[in-house]
Point group: C2
Chain length 224, copies 2
């Protein structure tokens, strides 16, 4: 890449960071805990979110934003949970940006929410560079993707607070090497908490919810 | 995205298109047939390429370029075939660009090659927008990714000349709906040829090689 292009890229990221900081302050003020789900395409973000909404909904007030290049399929699917859902269509942009989040929140009373989930565009690269003001970034990593992916896409693992191995129910069918996957994740991000999950069989979802609730409780809320 | 950013993006793509046109002329002049393999992360580009190199190598002169953010794992893996392999490390860039290809070819005698394979960065979005001067773009789509992906990432299917369904050996384990996948691919790109493959079981590789050889033979070569 030429110097000019790198400069423009830095400019875009700097602007995004400023907007993300503003969003973060707004989320904290409203007392809403924001989770950014990132992964490659088809790792199972929507399936996990469907389950998560269903399990949290009885006790918490939740909404979700869903990013995709095209279609409203995921929003339609998630709306069945009864939670407020908005789709963000990114066109040809391969990630969500803070500005898109700000626009999509228009008209929502954030103070009425306990959790806001953001499902990013399926991409292991660029979503890593775009802060959305979230409290927690969770990277999903499916047993079908190959144990080497943390080494090949280090930034998304480096910048995440939690990793979810997904589709653990088909681990045997794809000869998934769990030890190697853990080792590779911890090579790029030592100590990153990892939870094995299957949305289909509901494995690991209790541990995921415990982690979410603990982190939400631990997040400082504004003095009323 | 603001107008300024869209303008810069158009500028980058225009420059890439010019370089790609120059590369295409160079490839044609040298009589080398160039294949660009694109897919999401973990769809099996390297596994397919390993098989392809092994099967073509007795009769054809082949080289490959492999793009990744980090690591030389794929190049090391492919080099076992005996073919000349070069790794392109893209850093934080989520796709290959024509300029990277031009740089990576430095010192190679293209006239001595029948096939040049380019394995793109694992990403269903941006590689669609970057022409690399290739003769054939093949999109890989794994049975584990979900049948809806062609609708959610239409551009990469729209701009491809051939689709390969991969990991067909685990189709049952993941409840893959083949008819729906075909229907969705053809909704975004009517008539796109599709081959079902499994690099593990060697399914569909003969059909893939027949397609490659036919297309290579059909490509006009320069008058000596």
């Amino acid at each position: 890449m030429s110097t000019r292009i790198i400069e423009v890229r830095h400019g875009i990221l700097k602007k995004n960071d400023e907007l993300a900081a503003r969003l973060r302050a707004r989320f904290q003020e409203a007392g809403v805990f924001v989770v950014n789900l990132v992964s490659g395409p088809g790792a199972g973000k929507t399936a996990l979110l469907e389950r998560t909404l269903a399990m949290l909904r009885p006790d918490y007030r939740i909404a979700a934003l869903v990013g995709d290049l095209a279609t409203e399929n995921d929003a339609t699917r998630l709306a069945r949970s009864g939670a407020p859902i908005r789709q963000i269509s990114t066109g040809t942009t391969c990630h969500l940006e803070a500005e898109m989040i700000e626009d999509a929140l228009d008209g929502w009373a954030l103070g009425d929410l306990d959790f806001l989930f953001i499902e990013n565009v399926g991409n292991l690269v660029c979503p890593a560079s775009y802060d959305l003001g979230e409290n927690l970034r969770a990277v999903l990593f499916s047993v079908t993707e190959g144990e080497d992916k943390p080494l090949k896409y280090p930034t998304i693992f480096n910048t995440s607070d939690l990793a979810l191995i997904t589709k653990i129910d088909i681990a045997d069918a794809v000869d998934f090497d769990r030890d190697l996957a853990y080792e590779n994740i911890h090579r790029v991000r030592p100590g990153l908490p990892i939870i094995d999950t299957s949305a289909r069989r509901a494995d690991g979802l209790d541990a995921w919810l415990v982690a979410l609730k603990e982190k939400q409780r631990a997040t400082p809320v504004p003095v009323a």
